[in-house]
């Protein structure tokens, strides 16, 4: 049997179920969590969460956050999490163009880190949304 995974955002309990494996992007690189992993606490980068359960996979886009692995359960805390079907592609596209423009033009007083993060978030959303388009059937539970 797998282990308990919870994904918590400030406005909802995004996900809560038994899973076999979860892959996240930590700030030090990707890491996969399996059952009985030693307790761990680490911040996450903007990226994907890949959940595997009974040969089925699901992907979600997350923005910032951290993962806490404990004996009885694993928790991912993030500011915002979205399934591919929830992503507003047009909005992400617009955000991407806006961020790219800002980085290129470098206006006075531009917070470059913030602009880059905005771009990363947009790219991440688009990527996750595209996964859904390519093989729709595989990712729907």
């Amino acid at each position: 049997m797998g282990f308990m995974l919870e994904i918590v955002t400030p406005d909802r309990n995004f996900f809560s179920d038994e899973v076999d494996m979860v892959i996240v992007r930590g700030i030090e690189g990707d890491l996969a969590v399996l059952e009985n992993r030693a307790p761990l606490l680490t911040p996450l980068a903007i990226g994907k969460v890949r959940i595997t359960k009974d040969e089925k996979k699901r992907v979600a886009a997350i923005v910032d956050g951290y993962i806490s692995v404990q004996k009885d359960k694993t928790t991912i805390i993030t500011d915002s999490a979205e399934w591919p079907e929830e992503i507003d592609i047009e909005r992400a596209e617009r955000a991407k163009i806006r961020a790219e423009k800002r980085i290129k033009e470098k206006p006075e007083g531009l917070d470059i880190v913030r602009a880059e993060n905005a771009l990363k978030r947009a790219l991440n959303r688009l990527e996750v949304a595209n996964i859904k388009k390519i093989n729709d059937e595989n990712f729907n539970q």
Binding site: T9, P10, D11, P39, L40, L41, Y66, I77, D79
Partner: protein, 285 residues
């Protein structure tokens, strides 16, 4: 007599339309209250988990000199005041404003304010306080990004050493009919202390406990602010609902009374008329 019955009629009509308005506002407030409460319930697991995780890190780290946890000598303070954007909510706005003003009245030059909501901003600006940040029109539906913006603003000035203490004043939601204005200190933070959580398994920290802590503490501050915003928005709707409910009740009571005096006046007019006719007929005999 005829004049006075018409006057009473007009007043009854006026009060009825006021009652309609307060009744509608009451219904709107209760619908919003239900939504706000749901949001409050949903935000709790987030806050609890962040708090738990910080406690775990704190018992494993030596970094208790973190700037957010260490007390400072000075007494320059920032107060975050969470009020509402609109009135007609009973004592909601005045309670919170008074609580803060009592605290800062004698140290005007050392205190600056960050106000959330129009009512708080207007109140303190009019009295000449130094308002360094204002967040308007977010009190009904606060989102985490608002909390983040407020958090980053105050953490920024705190790190620069421009202030020594940060407080937040909000209204705690106890029940639908009772709310309590509260003032808590968020920086430096007392809630986070060494070794409160019981020692259990050894936890790995990637890349290091200190860095994880550096990441977690701002998250915690943000989630405290978010919690305060949400509690306040619940309280606001609760207070407004109660205020409008009693306004509606009062209007109904007034209408009943007026209706009674209207009936009396009408009856008196009829009686007077009859007695005039009777005495007129009597005189003809």
């Amino acid at each position: 007599m005829a004049q006075s019955t018409r006057d009473i009629k007009r007043r009854i009509r006026g009060i009825s339309s006021t009652r309609q308005i307060t009744k509608a506002m009451e219904l709107v407030a209760s619908a919003k209250l239900r939504k706000a409460r749901e949001r409050l319930e949903k935000s709790r697991p987030y806050y609890n988990t962040v708090y738990e995780n910080i406690q775990q890190v704190l018992k494993d780290t030596k970094n208790l000199n973190h700037p957010y946890l260490k007390a400072r000598k000075g007494d320059r303070a920032v107060y975050i005041v969470v009020s509402a954007d609109r009135g007609l909510a009973g004592g909601f706005n005045s309670n919170i404003n008074r609580l803060v003003e009592d605290e800062i009245r004698n140290k005007k030059d050392k205190v600056s304010l960050v106000t959330v909501g129009l009512k708080g901003r207007d109140y303190f600006k009019r009295r000449g306080y130094n308002v360094i940040g204002e967040f308007l029109h977010i009190t009904e539906e606060p989102s985490f990004s608002h909390a983040k913006a407020i958090g980053n603003l105050i953490m920024d000035i705190y790190e620069k050493g421009e202030v020594d203490k940060v407080y937040i004043a909000y209204t705690k939601f106890i029940t639908t009919i009772s709310q309590e204005a509260k003032l808590i200190r968020i920086l430096p933070n007392d809630e986070l202390k060494e070794g409160q959580a019981e020692k259990n398994a050894i936890i790995e920290f990637e890349p290091s406990p200190d860095e994880v802590l550096d990441y977690l503490i701002p998250k915690y501050i943000q989630s405290v602010i978010y919690g305060a915003l949400i509690e306040s928005s619940c309280s606001q709707q609760g207070a407004r609902r109660t205020a409008m409910e009693s306004a509606t009740d009062n209007a109904e009571e007034m209408i009943d009374e007026l209706q009674l005096s209207y009936n009396r006046a009408r009856q008196a007019a009829i009686t007077a008329e009859i007695s005039e006719i009777v005495s007129g007929a009597e005189a003809l005999k």
